[in-house]
Amino acid sequence: MASGEIEAELERLHGAGFAWALACCRHDREEASDVLQTSYLKILDGRAAFAGRSSFKTFLFGVILKTAQEARRRNALRSLLLQNWSRRREEPATSREPEDRIALLSALARLARRQREVLDLVFAMGLTVEEAAQTLAISVGSARVHYDRGKKRLARLLGSGGRS
């Protein structure tokens, strides 16, 4: 793909990419913007090259996920040594947020990481389970297990108001 085409594709998928970056960064907007910018730069300067083995969306989501994981590791090490809690602190739900959004975010936070990621990719981002497996670099079988268990647990959490 030519550089211009890549930039056009990134811009076309920007909204979905930002939503996925938010999901990967525990809904910290600043961190999500940093991660998304780093991902764009990696793709535009060739450090992350699209080889055409999957759709461009799947490729982009994979780069965002990996970048978010690297950022999380760096921040964990930094906050271990330094007195810096602002990055690790979850964005508190304000009274301006709708209650059902708070309940959904709270329930998603209680899922295992892989279950949350698969459900986000399949239900929120519109990927198939196979595409979600490619994004997460796991087998399709594992993705299906996370999908089934995540769905049941999320339904239970939402049904009980996120208390169980």
Binding site: A16, S33, Q83, S86, F123, A124, K151
Partner: protein
């Protein structure tokens, strides 16, 4: 798709639409400044002291683990090991053990047993050649 799937899809898709609607523009994200957020970072004296102590401890352990025993160099240690004798070596010297150090010698002189000569040709008692 089951009823549960439809409900989850609806709620998560709504969450995504809200997130997308609040996203900064593509240009804003691509061109945002990359300066480090250092303002909120502070060094705690206690944490600094703990980190320094941990480094000193690790260095001491490394020195102790790799130190040659009793101040000997590695070459000296090997030589002293080759020359070492066990304190219980004397218990291995049993009576008659010197027999194992030499080959016994047999004499050609006749052996006299109870007055008889064992020399060949003198089979009868008292008979001399």
């Amino acid at each position: 798709m089951s009823e549960l799937d439809r409900e989850l899809a609806r709620r998560l898709a709504e969450l995504r639409r809200t997130d997308e609607a609040g996203a900064p523009s593509f240009r804003q994200v691509l061109e945002r400044p990359r300066a480090r957020r250092a303002a909120s970072v502070t060094w705690s004296p206690l944490r600094l002291a703990l980190a320094a102590s941990a480094l000193v401890f690790i260095a001491l352990v490394a020195l102790l683990v790799h130190r040659p025993p009793d101040g000997l160099s590695v070459a000296q240690g090997v030589r002293s090991l080759a020359e070492w004798k066990a304190p219980t070596d004397s218990l291995l010297r049993t009576p008659g053990s010197e027999l194992f150090d030499s080959v016994p010698q047999f004499s050609l002189a006749p052996v006299t047993v109870s007055g008889e000569s064992a020399h060949p040709g003198q089979r009868k008692k008292g008979v001399s050649p």
